[in-house]
């Protein structure tokens, strides 16, 4: 077998084990790569970044975003085409926050493996920049300009666009609950099973692309401004939300949280959350996030081989 065949076999084995185990963040350095989803025809594989964070490479593609059957802001359902990107396999944790030495505003800091929460939108962007610098990448957010605008061309970390988030959450599924409504209890910490608090990341089953906690635990900030009617005018290729104006300080939040109902954990559910950026203290203890990074498939595979050769 050549190198990639080895990796592909490894991935199949790894995903099988994940499916059997159903929980637990990986602590292994083993890298697997090169799976093409049968349902979506899209390439996906796990990588570990320079600072040791586990991410999933998603090869991009076209999918149907939104729904015509739900709340008005979730429609119309529309085609979206995305470029390849990496997305965190888990929500950002206290441990990761401490590593970049920025203030952690979270309520439940009793275990480093829990996700950060009570995060203002800007807190999440600051973490993205710090993680980029830690790994020698170019930060996406310009901290010297009002609102810290995002440079999507930079190779550093940023918040996912709303479309990237839904693409990753669907994992090729067209269903309202990609993990199955009945299976939500095994795949998410939400209002029915979370006991009114957050939980260790990765302790529920991942979705079909190996991504954990896309539903529940903490709701996740996206980069996009929130606008109810945006889908009606959203561009097909790499949509990045409506124009970011000073008047609109709501940003998209996705996925539901430890306090959400089953209904709020549907894949198309949208929430427009105040950024909290002009609040000294932000008490909204369900607001967390995960990072993404724009990357080509070739560069993502280099990340796999770099880590494998360590």
């Amino acid at each position: 077998m050549n190198h990639w065949q080895h990796i592909f076999v490894g991935l199949c084995g790894g995903m099988g084990l994940l499916a059997l185990a159903g929980c637990g963040p990986s602590t292994s350095n083993e890298q697997t790569s090169g799976s093409t989803s049968a349902s979506s025809g899209m390439m996906s594989f796990p990588v570990k970044t320079a600072s040791g964070i586990e991410m999933i490479f998603l090869g991009g593609g076209t999918f149907t975003m939104g729904s015509d059957q739900e709340s008005s802001d979730e429609g119309p359902a529309h085609k979206v085409t995305l470029s390849p990107f990496l997305i965190d396999q888990y929500e950002v944790t206290h441990e990761q926050f401490a590593k970049v030495q920025i203030p952690n505003p979270s309520h439940w800091q009793d275990d480093p493996r829990k996700p950060v929460e009570q995060l203002r939108w800007r807190d999440a962007k600051l973490y993205c920049n710090e993680r980029s610098l830690l790994e020698g990448l170019t930060p996406c957010y310009d901290e010297a300009k009002e609102g810290w605008p995002c440079n999507y061309e930079a190779n550093g970390y940023r918040l996912p666009s709303e479309a990237e988030w839904e693409f990753a959450a669907r994992a090729g599924s067209k269903d309202r609950y990609p993990v199955g409504k009945r299976a939500l209890n095994q795949s998410a910490w939400f209002g029915d099973n979370a006991g009114k608090r957050t939980h260790f990341v990765g302790t529920r089953r991942p979705n079909d692309w190996g991504i954990h906690d896309m539903y529940g635990n903490v709701s996740e900030w996206c980069q996009d401004a929130y606008e109810e009617e945006y889908y009606a005018s959203s561009p097909e290729k790499n949509p990045r939300g409506p124009e970011d104006t000073a008047e609109n300080n709501r940003r998209v939040m996705r996925g539901g949280s430890w306090k959400s109902s089953v209904d709020m954990c549907r894949v198309t559910f949208r929430q427009g959350q105040q950024t909290g950026d002009s609040d000294a203290c932000f008490y909204t203890d369900f607001c967390g996030f995960r990072c993404v990074r724009s990357i080509s498939e070739e560069d993502a595979k280099k990340l796999v081989s770099d880590t494998s050769s360590e």
Binding site: Q101, I102, P103, N104, P105, S106, H107, Q109, D110, Q118, R122, L126, E143, A144, K145, E146, W148, D277, S278, D279, A280, C281, Y283, D285
Partner: protein, 349 residues
Amino acid sequence: MMIPKTSFYFALSALFTICVESSAETVKERLAATPYHLVYEKYADNNWELFVSKADGTGERNLTNTPDQHELYPQVSPDGKRLCFVSDKGSGRNTVRSVYVMNMDGSDRKWVADEARQPCWTNNSNTILYLPQEYSKWNVVDYFTKGLVYYNVETGVKRRHPNSDKLHHLYNPSMSPDGKWIVSTVHAGMGFKHAILLIEAEGDGIHSLDIPGCRPTFSPNGKYVAWGPGDHEIAVGEIDWEANPPRVKKKWLSVKDKVNKVYHVDWSPNSAFLSISRGVKSDGDLSKPGTHQSACEIVGVYAKDWNLITVPLDQGPEIDLSKASADQFHQITQDGSSNKESDWFTSAQ
């Protein structure tokens, strides 16, 4: 709970020394009759400076006048002779915040500590306490602190609070006049989501006062605490020191403003007035050198159109600033140039 009006005024006359009793006098006239001054931070000519004025706002002057350095967060010693404050150098993520102390006339400026913030005086006027930053890396957020350090300004000796290892994410500490307690806000630290705490000055006792909000400060006689229950309210409550642990008995004064944010409350030395920073909600203006982006009430964030006001405490249990007439409060500053963090003092000279 509303306090009966008669009880309220009786309590006021019994508990406070009201300097001027004539209701015909305006608030400004009442302030002008006091021997008090205010020191505060202001953004002037692309620079943070400390300004002083008389209590009625007249005679304003730039105390620091250092175009190459930013000075903020002034705190006057109980004897009125010295001032501690923070100074920012650098910009953006290269900013370093340090604590300094100097005489009230600006002389004998001494460096105290780098990567430290929010100093305040103990009751003896010889010692300040300050909060070291949580990490060396810069962040403007106010709760970015870990530990608590005492600094003797006479000897230069630093001493960690006996419970310093546990003190995490405190901000805006203030010491009781008897020197036994520190009152401080905590955000996302020590197991608290957000709380106002009483901390033993020389022990390991920590008690939540079970009041919402932030930035508490003791009255000069130690019987009361003033704080901000939210963005649009300043409250005053009596502390029950006989209770174990001590607690705030009731909120007997509320200063509200439905339109503007009200922050940074401080007591006049005779406990008859409160000074408050007041202005619209914003998150800074990065075009101004030496400023940062966050909630505008935070130290180092430019607060557009923010001014200082003074409110007398003898006006009843609730004052609505958005409806109040000009004779119910007095605006100390007029220029709206990020006037914040005022501290009262009686000139020692």
